[in-house]
Amino acid sequence: MASTVISQGITIEGELTTEDDVVIEGTLRGKLVSKDTVKVETGAVVEADIAASSLSVGGQITGNVTATDRVDLMAGARLIGDVKAARLTIADGASFKGNVDMDV
């Protein structure tokens, strides 16, 4: 189990900083900085800038996303914001509006 889980029905507002992995199933507003994996699950609502080593998205994100390793947008994901990552995958059925910067 992930070290930090924001479950459904919970809203966190503010700045979240961690060195461990984070799973978001609920709502997060503000800013999230993690040195590990961040998972935004289906049904989650994130209105925040996210920085992580890798990010997988099944839910909704409004905000800029930065990953040192990779960003994966799964089917059903919805991302409005810019992506800066070494690798990016966008699955069929994901919606995305924003710029991509892949350090070319």
């Binding site: 479950s7 919970i10 809203t11 507002e13 503010g14 979240l16 900083t17 961690t18 461990d20």
Partner: protein, 175 residues
């Protein structure tokens, strides 16, 4: 376990947590927590926040007021600086608390009601004390004036005795 929110040990959150589910805090939080479920504060947690929940269990360090509708429980190792309010409050041996405790159902509302009545009573008690004090002051000031008038009178008989040359005259006489 799916609907338990966990704030892990490596987390630092500056902000608020709100919602319906249960929350387990193992990391650092600065802000406030308002949850409908149960809040558990782990041994290594450092919380600087007011917490409102149905039930609160503390094993770590908290600086803030804890309000648990059903209850608040401080387990061994808990360090709390702040007030506790709730229907039932338990403090285990080895827990440290610095603050006020209020037990009973709807503790928060009762507390406010009591404070309100106290505030309402206090001025009523003070007023009757004040009025005699003011009256006494009113009486004392004319007395002082009288005293001031009387005072200059006694010195004159003393002054002539110590008139210039009188001591020398006395000495001469004694010789």
């Amino acid at each position: 376990m799916a609907d338990v929110t966990v704030i892990g040990q490596g987390i630092f959150l500056r902000g608020s947590i709100r919602g319906d589910g249960d929350v387990e805090i193992r990391g650092r939080i600065e802000g406030d927590v308002e949850v409908a479920g149960e809040v558990t504060i782990g041994e290594a947690a450092l919380v600087k926040a007011d917490i409102q929940a149905r039930r609160i269990v503390v094993r770590g360090a908290v600086a803030g007021n804890l309000t648990g509708e059903d209850g608040v429980r401080l387990e061994e190792g808990a360090r709390v600086v702040g007030d506790l309010r709730g229907a039932g409050i338990g403090i285990a041996e080895g827990a440290l608390l610095h603050g006020n405790v209020q037990t009973g159902t709807g503790g928060a509302e009762r507390g406010r009601a009591r404070q309100a009545t106290r505030e309402a009573r206090q001025p009523a008690r003070v007023e009757p004390r004040k009025t005699p004090a003011v009256a006494a002051k009113g009486n004392s000031s004319p007395r002082k004036e009288k005293a001031a008038e009387e005072r200059p009178a006694p010195p004159p008989p003393v002054v002539p005795v110590l008139k210039k040359g009188s001591r020398a005259a006395l000495r001469k006489r004694s010789r």
